[in-house]
């Protein structure tokens, strides 16, 4: 009796699986996506996933790739480089994708791009910002977002024209993003004559930054540059306020400082904090505002630059697929090298400059929190509000 049930069960199972496989194969074009869907970075993974999904739906609705729909194969890298490896292996061998995109965390992206290069599958990096990723001379790797060293481009011009500081203290979390970003910024400061008084790393998740901030306060820097994710950023600002630490300005290096959660967690300690930013819905790029509004309407929460990167990535991939002479990895790769289009994230063209290869070069922006709203303040021609500088001391607000 039992044996019969068992056999029936297995047959049904096998039937379902084959049905699934049969239906899934055939018409659609498979595009692989590697994102942190679970784990510590799941929040960003989700914004990017939603943006990818939204983008694909729009592309498919308007005819897909010459009539064929795109099938997004998403794999979870759980925020770990080795799992990212497993993910791309599975996408390449099992799902037989011809192009992969995604990549949020720099370390995971680095490992995944090395794998993509080796297996000769084109990989369009969405976010992973460590400079190294496009400095290896890999011809199968493309990146739409700027490298972390360029995040402070707008900041640098603001500093040079308006603030003219002499000294800086750099604080960063000990991750690939933090360590490489701070190293680059320190070099940029030294080359423009700003003295780096201290550059210190910390383990993310610290409870009390006061000992660190006390030291920074005693060094009296003109401004402080911080590379952190949300919660550390919020704590750093709150504790700076508690210590009544007033440098000329506080600047964040993107990531944690531009998210709405930063303002809600730091409260009034977030006021007047500047940050580098990569994108804003108010920029004059086609579809930027619509993307922002549609995302908000559909997912009930605002999106930000990571989402814009993801949304644009899938459009770039779709464009390359349409132009590809043949739908093979090599064909898609060639099409990608010839990309020249406008997306909600900005113009996309993969160029090689300095050590970098196949990197999209975009301007960045400086934003400032004013009354709980993130306003673009520099360059002047895209500013939504004028910048507030000098900034009043904590006790006088």
């Amino acid at each position: 009796m039992n044996r019969i049930v068992f056999c029936l069960f297995t047959t049904v199972l096998v039937a379902l699986v084959s049905l699934g496989l049969v239906l899934a194969a055939g018409d659609p074009i498979k595009v692989g996506v590697v994102l942190p869907l679970t784990g510590e970075q799941a929040k960003f993974g989700e914004i990017e996933k939603n943006s990818f999904v939204m983008g694909v739906e729009e592309i498919n609705k308007s005819g897909g790739i010459n009539g064929r729909p795109i099938d997004l194969m998403m794999e979870d890298d759980t925020g770990k480089p080795d799992v990212g490896r497993s993910a791309i292996e599975k996408l390449i061998s099992q799902d037989k994708v011809i192009v992969v995109t995604g990549g949020y965390s720099s370390s995971v992206t680095y490992a995944v791009s090395a794998a993509a290069q080796q297996r000769k599958i084109p990989f369009l990096v969405t976010t992973g910002s460590a400079d190294k990723i496009t400095e290896q001379g890999w011809d199968y790797v493309f990146r739409i977002g700027p490298p972390v060293s360029e995040y402070p481009k707008a900041l640098n011009s603001f500093l040079a024209e308006v603030v003219k500081p002499k000294t800086v203290a750099i604080l960063h979390e000990n991750t690939l993003f933090g360590q490489s970003g701070s190293k680059e910024f320190a070099q940029q400061c030294e080359s423009t004559g700003i003295k780096v008084l201290m550059k210190e790393g910390y383990e993310a998740g610290a409870v009390d930054f006061k000992p660190l901030l006390i030291k920074v306060k005693a060094a009296k820097p003109d401004f402080v540059y911080m590379i952190s994710y949300i919660m550390d950023a919020a704590l750093l600002m709150r504790q700076s306020k508690e210590l009544n630490f007033n440098p000329k300005l506080f600047v964040g290096g993107g990531a944690g400082f531009t998210l709405p959660e930063f303002a809600s967690n730091a409260g009034d300690a977030a006021e007047y904090v500047f940050s580098a930013d990569l994108w804003s819905p108010t920029l004059p790029y086609t579809g930027a505002k619509e993307y922002f509004d549609n995302y908000l309407k559909r997912f009930n929460t605002p999106t930000e630059y990571h989402g814009a990167q993801a949304y644009s990535s899938i459009y770039v991939v779709a464009d390359a697929l349409k132009r590809a002479k043949e739908l093979t990895p090599e064909g898609v790769r060639e099409a990608l090298t010839a990309t020249d289009m406008m997306t909600v994230f900005g113009p996309v063209k993969f160029v090689s400059y300095e050590k970098k290869k196949q990197q999209n070069s975009l301007p960045t922006y400086l934003v400032q929190w004013q009354k709980g709203v993130l306003e673009t303040v520099w360059p002047k021609n895209v500013a939504t509000k004028p910048y507030v500088f000098p900034v009043s001391e904590w006790s006088q607000r």
Partner: protein
């Protein structure tokens, strides 16, 4: 007689495996399994057999991994030398550590290994000039195909099992177990417990360090968080050991297979079965179920640990007799 036949059969299957199943993804999973067999066996030697529970196995793994990577980056020597040298480096770490910390008993030793693990991770993170910190080290893989890596991993796994088997059948094996059962009694019988604990630890470190060297060469990317990871390496090693069976030769092999399988099955929702079902049937229930399943893989580990400790404290191999009894009971009940 029966046992060696089964073993030979298994070995034969493993040898032809990559030619039969050409899917790189499954080959990748098997390589992971084989690597964990080595780590688990190493862990088992010191923890299962000698009773000194290792909570920070990643210390040796990470040292092995970094040795291989640094040889390439700093000395421009092929990272393949890192495999044997990684094992040696791990032993070089084990030696002073054991010397200093073996005066600690039971749980205190375990905590000391945990402290070592975290200290090494911190050092690797902040000593940027040596290790590039969290930027990590990239090693380009020598072979594109997975097959050479598979055979190297297989070789390592076989080496581990054979080593454990040979050692445990020798006099050393008896000394190790006697230390585990009652260290003071062993000492009073004239066994130099300190010496043998050191031997056991060094052998374990060797195996785990070799696995670390293999990891660098195969995965191609390491950073402190990955190779000195408390959760993903140290605790995983413990799980492999206890689920498979502490103090048994084949326990870690079974444990390795189960743990890697469980992890992938959960992460991919049954190797993509659940999401595929979700897409074809269009039932939102299926998609949410697959999402929950993939997010539940760590939860499943935790539950597995609790269940195994409560009901199968000697692991699957160790408590095989009670499993068999339970199965027979089931079958009889069903018929």
């Amino acid at each position: 007689m029966k046992r060696s036949f089964g073993t030979l059969l298994l070995l034969a299957v493993l040898l032809v495996f990559p030619w039969v199943l050409k899917d790189a993804y499954y080959q990748h999973l098997m390589i992971l399994v084989l690597m964990w067999v080595a780590i688990g066996s190493g862990w088992n030697l010191i923890s299962g057999y000698t009773g000194q529970v290792l909570f920070g196995a990643a210390s040796f793994f990470g040292i092995g991994a970094y040795t291989a990577a640094l040889l390439l980056h700093k000395l421009e020597i092929s990272a393949w030398w890192g495999l044997p040298l990684g094992g040696v480096a791990a032993v070089l770490l084990a030696f002073p550590f054991g010397w200093i910390c073996f005066r600690l008993r039971g749980p205190y030793f375990a905590l000391a290994t945990l402290a070592l693990n975290e200290i090494l991770r911190n050092i690797a993170t902040v000593w940027e000039s040596l290790t590039e910190g969290m930027v990590g080290l990239l090693v380009m893989q020598t072979f594109v195909s997975k097959i050479p890596y598979y055979y190297i991993a297989l070789g390592l796994a076989v080496l581990s099992i054979v080593l454990v088997d040979v050692v445990m059948k020798s006099r050393w094996g008896y000394y190790f177990v006697s230390i585990r059962e009652d260290q003071d009694a062993a000492e009073s019988l004239g066994i130099d417990t300190r010496y043998f604990k050191m031997v056991s630890l060094c052998l374990s470190a060797l195996l785990i360090g070799l696995a670390g060297g293999l990891y660098t060469n195969y995965m191609g990317f390491i950073d402190p968080k990955v190779v000195f990871s408390l959760h993903d390496i140290s605790i995983m090693a413990i799980l492999v050991g206890i689920v498979g069976g502490v103090g048994t030769v084949y326990g870690p092999a079974i444990g390795a297979f189960i743990m890697v399988a469980v992890q992938e099955v959960f992460r991919t929702g049954g190797f993509g079965l659940l999401p595929a079902l979700g897409k074809t049937t269009g039932w939102p229930f299926m998609t949410t179920l697959s999402k929950y399943v993939s997010e539940a893989h760590v939860l499943s580990f935790g539950i597995l640990v609790i269940a195994v400790i409560l009901y199968l404290p000697n692991g699957i191999v160790g408590d095989w007799s009670s499993i068999r009894r339970a199965l027979i009971f089931w079958r009889r009940k069903a018929a």
